[in-house]
Each structure stands twice: as C-alpha cells, then as structure tokens.
C-alpha cells in the first residue's frame, strides 16, 4: 500500500460490490457527506418547525407542554448567550423572567391596556437590566454567579413580600391578552403560534449575534480578556451589552410566560427556578444556543411528565446535572456535535487525496482507528473551507475566537465547546 497511486490504495477499502469499483463508492459517500453538510442544520430546523406547528394545532396537554418548553427555552438560550459565550453564568435569570411577567400582570391590574402592559413589562425589565448591569458586570466568574444569585433572590423577595404590589404568595392572574386586528392572542391557536414565532425570532437573533464580530469578541474575552483589552476592545462594555441582551430576552420569555399560564406567582422566580435555568443550559450544552433549548425540553419533561411517575424526580434531576457535569461537560449538544465531527473526520479521510501514502493509511475500513492527529476533523480543514459543524468557520475565527479554546472556558474541562474545537486549529 505504500506510495501507491489512487487506484492501488483504493484496494485497501472493503470491496463495494461485484461490479462497483471501491473508489467510486468512496467518491459517492464523500459527495453525499459533503453535500449534506451545509444542509443538515436548515433541514433539521425546518423539520422541527413543521413538527412543532403540527403539534401545536391541538389544545391538549401536548400543546401546553410544548408552550412551556418554548417559553423556558427562550430564557435558557438567553442565559446561554451570557454564560456560554461571555462566560458569565447567571443564577438570577428566573428573577428577570418574573420581572417581565409581573410587569405585564401589575400593569394590567392597574387598568392599562394589554398592549401597554406588554410595553411596560418589557420596559421595566430593560431598565432593570440596564441599571443592574452596571453592578453585575463589574465582576466575573464565581463572583458574578454569586451576585446574580443575590439579585434573583432579591427580586423573588420583592414578589413574595411586597404584597401591596405583587399580591404576595397568591400571585396575580392575567385574563385579557393583547389583540390587534386578526392577531388576537386570546385565541388559543394564535397565542401558540405567536409563542413559536417569538421563539424562532429570538433563537435566530441569538445565533446571529454569536456569529457576529460581537459574538466572536465575547468568546475572545471569555478566554483571554487581558489580550482582548490590549487589542483595544472595550471588554467591560461587551459584557454589559451581552448582559442587557440576555436580560431583555429573558423578560420577553416572562411576558410570554404570563400569557401562556395566565398567572404569575413568586414560585416562578424562587431559588429552585433560578437553578433550573442554569441546569437547562448545562444539560443542553454551554455555548451552543440550540443545546439549552434541548435542555429546556428535558427539564420540562422532568417536571411535568416524570413527576407523575417518580415522586423523587427532583433527586433524579439533581443527579442528572451532577452526572452531566462529571461525564459530559458539553451536554447533550456536545453529543450532537460529536456526530458532526465524526462526519467531518470521514470527509477528511475520504478526501485524503490520491498519491498520499499517509492518507491511504487513513483509508482503512471505516470505524478502525481514528485518523492521524494531523488530519483530525478541524485541523486539516476540508478543501471547501467550511468550518466545524456549528458553522463558525476557522476562517472567521482568525481573530480572538481562534484562541477561545485555550483557557478560561466556562467549564475548565470544557470538551465539546465551540472554543475547544477551533482552538485546535493550527
């Protein structure tokens, strides 16, 4: 096999079939894999969207469950934007969801029109985010977690103790939802589709942010803030903007929450709820936006489905978090990514090119021994220049993001995070 030409080395592949030369079979596989690569994301997204639209047609338990998932997913994705990209894990996120929800509920209770109430709810959460951000982003790491936890508890305390404003433990119910022309949220189906639409918009916005130069510089400041500051970036301002974005979108989730549940009470924003959002993000996978949406699905299933069958479901939930932190720091999305990387590895191996002895060695029957280090999925880079599966290619990662994986990722062991993948690039 050494030094053989394309034809000769192709003999090393398992025989395709009697009439089909093995090299053509390999070329076909390569073609399929390469073509499918850029399509997988959109196709999967479209499939999920169609599925959700179909499932949300009904008015039953499934719809309620999915609505819960979508609302929580918005908050979890916002938290991931802050935690997975800017490295600021907030344990006060449920508090801001509560502020959005209470803003609407209290405004409606004071006889504002539903639309005005939405404006007030979002306005209050934005203002609060702008003000608290000044304090919060002064610190990072563990201190940031502690301070946001304190903020969340204080917001919960207000909802619980300030009975004159918040009705205390009973919470406030909201019965009239906004409507404009044909868009009447009091209609169940319209409400469900609106929640889905808002989810899609927020998700796409967040993904866009993470791929923008702003998102890349966030990753950069997470891994090496001093270097980024030396390059002239205003790192404090970056963190502040990321914080405000995350708080605002969580407030949006809060507004949807109060419309879906028609009730907001302090338990929605207690310590346990704050922990749940962090759990969604970590289970789903820090730094992946879509992963935390998946995490929200899992947690809602734990809460609503598993709790019917297992009385100690909270124990199970806690143990799941511990297991994920111990065993799979990339979360569920890390597993999805691993599949994507596997495909990239196969592409690279098949592309190895004729006449290259090393590549021929890499062409041994599928599944045997990983490709040589130099040819690992991202390092060698496919000829078409496309980046790792998450779409943030090495090409645009040339700046700060190129260093993202070296140190300082939120979980220090952070396997399966975007930074780690790109960091390996030579």
């Amino acid at each position: 096999m050494t030094g053989g030409g394309g034809e000769a080395s192709a003999a090393g592949l398992p025989a395709g079939g009697p009439g089909v030369p093995a090299s053509r079979r390999a070329a076909l596989t390569l073609l399929v894999l390469q073509r499918s690569r850029p399509l997988t994301g959109p196709v999967a997204g479209l499939a999920v969207a169609v599925l959700l639209i179909l499932l949300l047609q009904g008015n039953g338990f499934t719809s309620t469950l999915i609505l819960d998932m979508l609302v929580y997913a918005i908050a979890a994705m916002s938290l991931d934007f802050l935690g997975g990209y800017a490295g600021l894990i907030s344990l006060g996120q449920a508090g801001f969801l509560g502020v959005g929800a209470y803003g609407v509920a209290i405004a409606e209770a004071h006889f504002y029109s539903p639309w005005a109430a939405v404006g007030i709810g979002l306005g209050v959460v934005l203002a609060l985010g702008l003000v608290l951000g000044i304090v919060a982003v002064r610190v990072k790491g563990i201190s940031f977690v502690i301070i946001t936890l304190a903020m969340g508890q204080v917001l919960w305390g207000l909802a619980y103790q300030w009975v004159g404003l918040s009705e205390g433990d009973n919470g406030i119910s909201v019965s009239v939802l906004p409507s404009i022309g044909p868009l009447d949220l009091n209609n169940g189906l319209t409400l469900r589709m609106t929640v889905l639409a808002v989810f899609a918009v927020v998700a796409l916005l967040l993904v866009t942010f993470t791929r923008s130069p702003f998102g890349l510089s966030l990753r950069g400041l997470r891994s090496n803030e001093a270097r980024l500051a030396a390059l002239g970036y205003r790192t404090g301002l970056h963190r502040y903007v990321a914080w405000v974005i995350a708080v605002f979108f969580t407030g949006v989730a809060g507004v949807l929450y109060v419309f879906v549940n028609q009730l907001i009470s302090p338990t929605t924003m207690d310590f346990s709820a704050n922990g749940l959002f962090v759990m969604m993000v970590v289970l789903g996978g820090l730094g992946s936006i879509w992963g935390p949406a998946l995490g929200a699905v899992v947690i809602v299933l734990f809460q609503q489905e598993l709790s019917i069958y297992v009385s100690r479901w909270q124990t199970l939930m806690g143990l799941t978090l511990i297991a994920v932190v111990l065993l799979s720091p990339g979360g569920f999305w890390g597993l999805v990514r691993a599949i994507g990387r596997r495909r990239d590895a196969v592409i690279t191996r098949l592309q190895g090119g004729p006449g290259d002895g090393r590549a021929a060695a890499g062409r041994r029957p599928a599944g045997s021994a990983p490709p040589p280090a130099g040819e690992s999925a991202d390092g060698a880079g496919p000829a078409d220049g496309a980046g790792p599966a998450d779409g943030a290619g090495p090409a645009d990662g040339a700046g700060p993001a190129g260093e993202a994986g070296l140190d300082g990722s939120p979980l220090a062991s952070g396997a399966g995070q975007p930074g780690t993948e790109e960091g390996r690039a030579p």
């Binding site: 508890q153 922990g275 962090v278 806690g318 511990i322």
Partner: protein, 288 residues
C-alpha cells in the same frame, strides 16, 4: 428605644447564625477555591438531623453534637468523592453542588416532610430573663446562640492565627502551590477545611432551627445570607465573614422589623454599595 435594643439583639443573634454558616463557606472557598452552593442545604440537613436526634434522646446537646458530627462526615465524603472527581474546575464544582442542592432538599422533603419544624431549647435556655438595659425581657436561647457564635468565632480565630494547622490554612489561602511545594499534605488540609465548614453548617442548622425554624427553602434563605456576607466581607476572608455577618444580620433584622414589605431587598443595599466602591469586598483581595 427598648424596641430598638431588642431588634439589635435579634439582629446580632441572626448574625451569629449567619456567621457560623458563612465562615465555613468562605474558608472552603479561600483554601480550596470551591464554591459549595450546597452549603445552605448542609445547614438545613444538619438542622433536620438534630431535630430527629433531639426527638429520640430528649437531649438538645446530643442533637447539636450529632448534627455537627454527621455533617462533618458528610462534608468529608463530599470532598473525597464529588469534589475530588471534578478536579479543580471552579465552575464545574459550582454546578455540581447546585445539582446536589436538589438532591439534598428532595431527600429531606421525603424524610421530614414539607411542614415547618421548630427545635425547642431545653430548660432555662427556653425561658426569658429581664435584661439590665431598659428592663427588656429577652429569650435566653437567643443570648445563648449569640454566646456560642462568639465562642466559635474566637476558637476559629485561635485555630487560624495561633496553631500550625491555621498557619497552613492561611498560607493555603494566599498561595496554594507554594504550600504544597513546601512538602505539606495539601489534600489533608483540604479535607479538614471542607469537613470543618460542613461541621459548622450542621451546628448552625440546629441553632438556627430554634430561632428561624426548619422548612423547605430555608436552605436558599441561609445561602443568600452567606453569599451576601462574602460579597460584603470579601470571598475567602475570615475577618470579612465576621464583619459581613454583623452587617447582614443587623440590616436584615432592621429591615424585617421596620420595612417588612421590602425586607429581603434591603439586604441588597450593602451589597450594591460594596460592589460599587470595592468589588472584591471589604477584606477581599483583587483577582479572586
């Protein structure tokens, strides 16, 4: 005026309980850089265990000792298993101990149920006496708690400042690598500190159970106090824990007494003030 004096004493009693919890939390962070979010849950679990032991033996002090020892063992196990497995990753440890809160709370709920429990103090501690100031009648139990907290604070101070172990712990806070380079078994120091922190939390759980009661969610309440203390005092500083506890205990108690609608939020005032002026806390060092 008598009212104010009584409220101040209440605040100081609360400060004593908060100190017992936050001193363990801050020592563990200072020496090991481990943020043990389940510290509040350990406090609550200690309280519940104390409650059961007191119920079985009819002796308050057995309950106090049992809770402290049980939690010390629990802390030791936790340090030897989960914390060791996670190997020095600050955020992973924080997240894993977050998961542990749900487990401990749920198990406690299964065993002791959801209705609040109160631990009764025995004999003379359960009565009240008239204080020499303004003739205030004040429960002996609270004065007992305050006294115990002061004795523990002095004992810890002696341990940290006057003993070899204390010198190693303080050196560990300043420069862990250097300590291990000097041939000191850092692993053993870590286990000791972690167990000590859990012991103090379990001890505080029984004392706190007499004043604050034991209830679902009591762990996150006490955790918030501990976190506020370390923000004000500085993460990892023992002196900071003492001063922070007094500030937070008094502020919370005055808040509850005079502004009940926003009591919980008033805690935030010293926290924000410190963050704006001195983000690392009163006794904290920058870059922690």
């Amino acid at each position: 005026m008598p009212e104010f004096v009584a409220q101040t004493l209440n605040g100081l009693t609360l400060a004593g309980i908060i100190f017992l919890v936050s001193s363990g939390f801050t020592l563990v962070f200072g020496v090991m850089r481990v943020t043990n979010l389940s510290h509040g849950a350990v406090y609550l679990l200690g309280g519940y265990i104390g409650y059961s032991v007191i119920g079985a033996t009819h002796n308050f002090f057995y309950g106090l000792a049992a809770a402290a020892v049980a939690m010390a063992v629990f802390g030791l196990l936790l340090e030897r298993t989960l914390i060791t497995w996670l190997g020095r990753s600050e955020m992973s440890e924080l997240l894993a101990t977050l998961g542990l809160i749900y487990v401990i709370d749920d198990v406690a709920l299964a065993i002791w149920g959801g209705s609040p429990l109160t631990i009764n103090l025995p004999g003379i501690l359960g009565e009240s006496s008239t204080l020499p100031i303004d003739g205030i009648v004040y429960p002996n139990g609270r004065i007992f708690i305050l006294g115990v907290a002061i004795i523990v604070a002095l004992a810890l101070y002696y341990l940290l400042r006057r003993t070899r172990v204390g010198a190693i712990i303080r050196a560990g806070v300043d420069d862990r690598e250097m300590v291990s380079a000097l041939g000191i078994n850092v692993r053993r120091v870590f286990s000791l500190v972690f167990a000590l922190g859990a012991l103090l939390a379990g001890f505080a759980g029984v004392l706190g159970g007499t004043v604050l009661g034991l209830y679902t969610g009591g762990d996150s309440d006490i955790l918030l106090f501990a976190l506020a203390v370390v923000i004000v005092g500085g993460l990892g500083s023992y002196e900071g824990a003492i001063l922070g506890s007094i500030v937070i205990g008094l502020v919370d108690n005055y808040g509850t007494a005079y502004f009940p609608a926003v009591a919980y939020s008033i805690l935030f005032i010293p926290v924000v003030a410190i963050l704006l002026v001195r983000p690392q806390g009163l006794f904290g060092k920058a870059n922690t």
